[in-house]
Structures are given as C-alpha cells and as structure tokens.
C-alpha cells in the first residue's frame, strides 16, 4: 500500500489503482464520467481534475483517473484550480447538450446534472446552434440511444469490449462529429445490454423497458439478490410507492458480480408484479370448489393431513431462502421424513460472464439446510407413492407444470403454498405466500457466498410468511387435532 495525503488526511492507496480510486475509497468524491471502476481508464472526459503536489515540484492539476499514486503525494480535490478546470470542462460538455432534463429518464441520477449543480456556472455562454443528432436511435430490443445527450465518455464502448467481450459499439466519426453507434446500425445482441444504461453517466443510453416509466426520485431502492441464476448477483430492487417493481439494477459486489448483472435477471420484474396472486388461504369445499377460507382453518386442515397421512412428500421450490429451508427441514423431520427441493435442468444461458446456467438462486443453500435435490423423474416416482404432497414456495407450480399435477393419483391430497393463484382440480389446500421482493432471508450462491434478499414491499393483505406457516405447523404437527383441543 502507498501512503498519500488526500485533503489533509493521510490514507493508504492501492498502487495498482489510479488516484481517483484512492480518493473515492476514502470518501473524497471526485467527479468522473469516462472513469468507471469496473472498466479500463481512458482519461478522456477530463472532469476528474484534482490538484497534486509531489516533492518540490509545484502543484499541478491532473486527471485523477490516469494518475498513478506515489508515496507522499499530496492531493487536494477541492482546490480552486481543480474546481476551475472542472468548470471549464463542464462548460464544454454542456455546450451541445440538449438540456431536455424534464423528459429524460436519467434525470435525478445523471452525473451531468449533478456535477453541473456542484461545479458549473449557472449560465451558458454559447449562442451557437446545438448539434442536431439522432434522438431515438434504436440499438435493438433493450437499448435506445439519444446521440444528442451523449457526452462521448466511451464507457459503453469499453463495457461491451471488456465485460461480455463482445465489441459491438464504437465511436464513429471524428472530433465534433463523433457519435456512438454500432457497425452499420446492427442491433445489439447478448445478455448484458441492460448494463449499458447503468454505465451511461447521462441519459444517452436508456432502457426501452424503463423509458418514460417513472421518475427515479419516486423509486425506493432496496438492496437484494437476483433470483434468476445461482450467481446471485447483488442487486437493487426499485419500487414505486404503490409497490410496483419498476427496475432492478446491479449493486457493486467485488466477490460476486462486480458491477454487472444479466438482462435475464434484470428484466424479471413482470413475474413479480403479476396480479393473479394466491389467496391467503383456500380450501376445497363440499361442492368441489376451491373457496377462500380462514388461514387458521386451512392450517388446521394441513395439520390434520400431516397427522393422519403416513406418507407425506414435502417438495420445496428452489427459490426458498435458507431460513425457509431450515424451517421446512424441521417440519419434515417432525413428520419423520426428509424434505426435498425441486432441482430443474440447467438452462442454456450459461456464459463466461455471470450466468451459471442453473436457473435457481439457492440450490446450494437448501442442500446445506438439509433438503435433498429432486429432479423431474424422481419427483414423478416419489409423488405417485405419497399419500399427501405439499408443494411449497414460489414458482414451483410453473416449474413442475400442470401435467405433473394431473399425473397425481386421485386419492392423494395436495397442499400448495405458492405466490401465483392456481385453481387446479388436484389442489385441496392453497395458501398464498410472499414472493421474493416481499420477504427477507438468505440465498447461497454457486460459490457458497451468502446473498441477502430483502422485502421491498409488503405482502398482499392477509398473506403470511412461509417461515411462520411452517413454524406453526411444526409446533403442532404429529399430534392429532383432538389432543390439541382437549
């Protein structure tokens, strides 16, 4: 480690990283556009100017993203010279910027806005016509490019080159005619395009999915973990006040996902916002209809089933948290059996970047919690011989498919605790549970790293957490109902 002095404070800096990283690591923010900690540094936007004094040489203003740290270096991020240079730089960057902030999706989280507010003069001095470029350039299914807003920091170009290693973007033209583009307007492809909207420091690259959908200051950001594969990328779930999940974005995590996430995970919010949720409780009535019931009654029915039936099969969703897995394990043991979780086939999304191809976030954590993995064939065999089947956890019905329920013997009793509604004829007891943005817990990723999920909104009215339902069943299961009431 190298010792340098930043704003009067001696700090330790990693000699492998540029000066700007040392400043940021020690809480001294230096404005930056082209610099991104997850990408190579090109030093072209020139906004990250700080004053540096080394030895006897007079202090000079340098670009912090391309300046190596040196022992004893004295850095002032707040000097008049540094602010002056940044102000000049901003004036140049704003000269052709359309200033269409009122309708820009980036407004509120835009570095150009923020640094202009921090550093720049209030009045523009240009009376020249602003550059007219393409405002709605379609870059494929995910991204829309506004070339007028672009400040040509080239983060997007470097991201495509360096992270998915799929160089599809380039800077075309030269000098003041430079624009970001793809070769002959070829649409972008790949599973990592959404990151382009995150790396873009301004509103040039925006998600089609998020375009004109929300003002970012109305979003509540909750740190969580992605559910769509066993990488378990750290993410931020962003919800509107009405609870609608509007956006999911990666959160920096050196150990897991660096600064990125895949599009498959990013755009999985539709499933979270679906309105066909399972009732807090429903029971099959005498007429054979699944009818809403009091959850207390529903739990009593399940309890009775467990005490009466000798052969119960507990199958969990691989989306269960470690905590839910442990609660289930305990319940199964009290019934003299071992719980399993459904382990689907790998999908074809596996790549060398993040996606593991395992579509579930917590197979490892559930195994560690004492659950055994169960594939489709094992499930078919086990379910046909059980008296009673309990399917527990979100997305399990979709993973098994309707045919799997139809194949169940008619005499068998079926209890389902799920997020999405089901009126399948085989279901005897249905209880709604919170989905992954309505509960908190832990998932363990493919490498054994724990990732917390956190409730970003409350569960639907009356819906109780699965851990609570399981705990209620555990304390009383194995004993006949009569014994309890007497």
């Amino acid at each position: 480690m190298t010792k340098i002095i930043v704003n009067g404070r001696e700090v330790e800096a990693d000699p492998q990283k540029p000066l700007i990283a040392a400043c940021h690591n020690h809480g001294e923010h230096v404005p930056h556009y082209c610099y991104h900690p997850g990408l190579s540094a090109v030093g072209s936007c020139r906004i990250c100017q700080v004053e540096v004094k080394q030895g006897e040489m007079p202090a000079r203003v340098v670009a912090a993203c391309r300046t190596p740290v040196a022992e004893g270096m004295v850095v002032n991020t707040d000097s008049e010279g540094a602010h002056g240079s940044r102000r000049e730089c901003l004036e140049f960057l704003l000269k052709n910027h359309p200033l269409d902030c009122p309708i820009c999706d980036k407004a509120g989280e835009c570095s150009l806005q923020d640094y202009s507010f921090q550093e720049a003069q209030a009045e523009g001095r240009s009376s020249e016509p602003r550059r007219k470029l393409e405002k709605r350039k379609d870059l494929g299914d995910v991204i829309l490019l506004d070339q007028e807003r672009c400040i040509l920091c080239s983060r997007c170009v470097r991201f495509m080159e360096e992270v998915p290693k799929s160089p599809q973007l380039c800077i075309g033209g030269r000098g003041s005619h430079s624009v970001v583009e793809t070769w002959q307007d070829t649409p972008l492809s790949g599973n990592y395009q959404g990151n382009l909207a995150d790396v873009c420091p301004v509103g040039a690259l925006t998600l089609k999915d998020f375009r004109f959908q929300a003002r970012v200051w109305n979003l509540t950001r909750v740190p969580s973990t992605c559910s769509e594969c066993s990488r378990g990328c750290s993410i931020s779930v962003e919800v509107l006040r009405n609870g609608e999940v509007k956006r999911m974005r990666p959160r920096p995590n050196e150990d897991v996902n660096s600064y990125w996430m895949c599009d498959h995970g990013r755009f999985s919010e539709d499933e979270l916002n679906r309105s066909d949720r399972m009732e807090p409780a429903a029971l099959r009535d005498d007429a054979g209809q699944l009818t809403a019931a009091d959850p207390v009654d529903a739990l009593r029915v399940v309890r009775n089933l467990l005490s009466v039936q000798s052969q119960a099969l507990f199958l969990a969703s691989p989306y269960l948290t470690v905590e839910e897995g442990e609660a289930l394990s305990k319940l199964a043991r009290s019934c003299g059996t071992q719980a399993a979780f459904f382990s689907p086939e790998p999908n074809d999304l596996r790549d060398d970047v993040l996606h593991t191809g395992d579509p579930c976030p917590n197979q490892r954590g559930l195994q560690e919690a004492g659950l055994t993995p169960m594939g489709s064939e094992e499930w078919a065999a086990a379910s046909s011989s059980a008296d009673c089947v309990l399917l527990l956890g979100e997305r399990l019905l979709d993973m098994l498919g309707d045919e799997a329920l139809e194949a169940l013997p008619p005499t068998q009793r079926l209890v389902v605790m799920e997020c999405r509604a089901s009126d399948h004829a085989a279901v005897d007891v249905a209880m709604g549970i919170p989905n992954r943005v309505e509960r908190s817990g832990t998932w363990v990723n493919v490498d054994g790293t724990a990732g917390a999920i956190r409730a970003a909104r409350s569960a639907p009215q009356g819906v109780r957490a699965l851990v609570e339902l399981l705990a209620d069943l555990t304390t009383t299961s194995g004993q006949p109902e009569e014994a309890l009431s007497s």
Partner: protein, 427 residues
C-alpha cells in the same frame, strides 16, 4: 548571412539523389560503416548523439540522445524494441520532411539503421503521411534497393547486426502525427492518442519499448556519427546545435525549404533567403514554427530561430516552419482558418478539444460574417484558456488554443473590430 555550412540538403542537389548509386557515390552509408568498423558499442552511439545536443525536429525540441537513453536496459528487459519514424508531416506550414524523403531517402535509412543499432531495435517503422505519394514511393524504392544490397535485413553490411525497416502509409489524419496516435494507427486502430504515462519507451508499439523520432532528427544522425558531435556543435547555438530545415510559406517572394543554422535571425530567412515580403508589402505577423506556434507581431522578426530564443519571444520554435502574413492579411481570418483546421483534426476523445475546437471556429466564423457580439472576444480567450495548457490527453487542444491566444494577445483590436458597435448593430 546566407553563406553558411550546409549538410542536410547537399545531396539533394545531385541528379537522381534518391537512388542508391548516386547516394553511395556521395558517401551514403559511410557513417553506418564507420560505426561498425570503429567497433562502437550501441551505448557509444547514444552517447555521441547525446553529446551533439541534437534536439528533436518534430516540434517539441526534446534532446534526441536523451530520448534514446530512455529505452529500457536490454539485459533486464528482453522485450522487442521498436522505433517509429514520424513522417506524418501534417502541421500546416511544415513541408521539410517531404523534401528529405523524396530527395535523400538513403540518408534516412542510414539514420534509422544507426538508431536501430544504438537502441538495439528489432524493427523500424516509417509512418508516412498518406498524401505524400512521391516521397512514399521514393522511400519504398530506396528500401528495396538497400535490402537488395544487403544494407537492411539480416546481417547489415556484414556486421552481424540485423534490422528490418517497414513502411506504413497514413490515411491523412493530423492526429496520427502525435506520437501515441501514430502508434495506435500503426497498430491498426483509430488514431486516438494514449494518455501518458505510460510513456512509449516503456509501453509503446504493441506494448513494447518504442521511440518515436521525427524524420529530420534521424536525418541528422549519420552526419553526427560521421563528422562527430564536436563538429555538429560548431553549427547553431549552444542550446540548439546544428542546422535545421526552415519551410517558409505565405506572403514571401520565394517560399520554400531552406537549410539554415539554428539561431539565424528570422529576418535573415525572410529577407535574404525568401526574398522578402511579396509585392513590396510590409510584414504584419508571422508564425515561427508551424500553425500551432503562437503568431508574433512584425517587430519580433529579429528573433533568432532557435528553441530558447523563440520561446523567450513568447512563441515556440515548433518545426521551424515560418508562415508569413503581410500587412493586408486578416489575423482574424487566419485564426478562423486554423480553428477550422483543428476542429477538423481533433480526434474527439477529450471534452475540451472536441467541443472547444468547434466552438472557437463557430465564434470566429460568426465574427467574420458580421454577427460578432459583445463578449465574443473575452469568450474566445476564456475558452482557449480552458483548452490549455496540458488539460487534455495530447497537445492538439493546446495547438488549437495557443495560436488563438497569441492572435488575441497581439491583434486584439482586429477581433474587436469584428464586433458591431451598438449604433451599427442590426435591430
């Protein structure tokens, strides 16, 4: 004053000077042979060039020998080592390397081989400006002749030393004359200058140790080795020894490329060699060393043409390419011409340069078309100061801002005259 010792252009005056036969008869490759025959070590050669005080002729005036000595030690660093000869001569006003490539390519090859021996290079790349068709063809033909004669390639002149020289044709971008832009271009990429550090001596072409030298700098090397550093120091000044090629253009009677010793007064070049200001007019302003060096007023014409003296006069020696403006010329108009050039040639990486070069051009253009506004002159100065010094990856931004600032400093009145007074302003 016009009778001074010359060496750079002597061979050029011979018929077919570009051929191996004529060049050899005139002593070409004698210095290289001398290096081998006198058993000089590579370090001895570097030392001799250092001792000569030769300063780079590409614009910055950095001591050539010192630059060579920055190459890492060949024992501790066994990577391949390269030199790129910068023949991408694109600075407005500068036209000296063209003459050397066209008329005496064998001297350049000899210089390259001596440099290659001194720095233990594996290969030399000559990056020639795309528009220089005849110079390129002459250079290529000379290489072919030299290769056939066993002068380049394996075992140069039976010395056991081997070096290859490759040609590369630029595609007409000014920025590829910037040394790191040149390297990017040679690697087949866009000519985007690289931030420094790392410097080329440590991380150059394909990440290997590399030196980039100007054609005229390398051209001086055979003479230094042949006649000695002490001889070289008898020419020019103490801090800027040797002769240089002054390309003089603009409003003079005889524009052209003249060989003169460093330290000669600008007036001697204009009046004695170039025949004075044309049409009997008076001088208004002059650029000492290409368009990127600040313009100077007429009363500075006695300035000696060497690095230190021109700097003291408030400008830069640059490439020694003088551009002369007579009394009828508009400094604002010439500022626009230059602003337009730099706007066209900015690579666009750095914010200040990409936006600033365009903005300077727009304001100057507007002022000349009668649309000047109060505050424009101050804005031109402010913007130029935002572009220099050293605020960007390479010096193109400085090159655009410096002539503007110099024009504003010495000829502010001409700019102010472009702003209509309130009474005249259109309603």
């Amino acid at each position: 004053m016009t009778s001074h010792e010359t060496y750079l252009l002597n061979r050029s005056k011979l018929a077919d000077s570009h051929t191996l036969e004529v060049a050899r008869a005139d002593g070409a490759y004698g210095a290289l042979r001398k290096v081998f025959e006198t058993s000089m070590s590579p370090e001895d050669v570097v030392e001799e060039v250092k001792k000569s005080g030769l300063r780079g002729r590409g614009g910055a005036g950095f001591p050539t020998g010192l630059k060579w000595s920055f190459m890492p030690n060949h024992e501790s660093d066994t990577r391949n080592r390269y030199m790129a000869v910068n023949a991408d001569e694109s600075e407005p006003g500068t036209c000296k390397d063209r003459v050397l490539l066209r008329e005496d390519p064998h001297c350049l090859i000899e210089g390259c081989l001596i440099a290659a021996f001194a720095m233990r290079l594996d290969a030399v790349y000559v990056y020639v400006r795309g528009e220089y068709r005849l110079p390129y063809d002459r250079m290529q033909a000379a290489l072919d002749e030299a290769r056939a004669a066993g002068i380049i390639g394996d075992d140069v002149l039976g010395s056991g030393f081997s070096c290859e020289i490759h040609m590369h044709k630029g595609a007409g971008a000014y920025i590829c004359g910037e040394e790191t832009g040149l390297m990017e271009s040679l690697e087949g990429k866009r000519g985007h200058p690289r931030p420094k550090p790392p410097f080329p001596a440590g991380f150059g072409l394909w990440g290997q140790p590399t030196t980039v030298n100007n054609v005229e700098s390398i051209f001086n090397v055979p003479f230094i080795l042949d006649r000695g550093a002490d001889w070289f120091r008898t020419l020019g000044t103490e801090s800027s020894p040797g002769n240089f090629l002054c390309g003089i253009s603009g409003h003079v009677e005889r524009p052209g490329v003249y060989e003169v010793p460093l330290g000669i007064s600008a007036r001697a070049i204009v009046e004695d060699l170039a025949g004075g200001i044309w049409k009997g007019r008076a001088l208004k302003a002059w650029f000492p060393g290409g368009s990127s060096t600040g313009v100077l007023p007429a009363d500075t014409l006695d300035t000696p043409m060497d690095h230190d003296s021109v700097k003291a006069a408030g400008s830069m020696f640059g490439t020694g390419a003088m551009i002369i403006l007579d009394e009828t010329a508009s400094v604002v108009r010439s500022a626009l011409v230059l602003a337009r050039f730099y706007e066209h040639e900015s690579c666009g990486q750095c914010s200040q340069c990409r936006e600033g070069t365009e903005w300077l051009e727009q304001i100057t253009d507007r002022m000349l078309s009668g649309q000047g506004k109060a505050g424009d002159v101050e804005l031109l100065a402010d913007l130029s100061n935002g572009m220099t010094p050293g605020k960007t990856i390479c010096a193109l931004s400085d090159a655009a801002a410096i002539p503007m600032l110099a024009a504003l400093k010495h000829f502010r009145g001409e700019f102010e005259a472009c702003i209509p007074t309130t009474a005249e302003a259109p309603v």
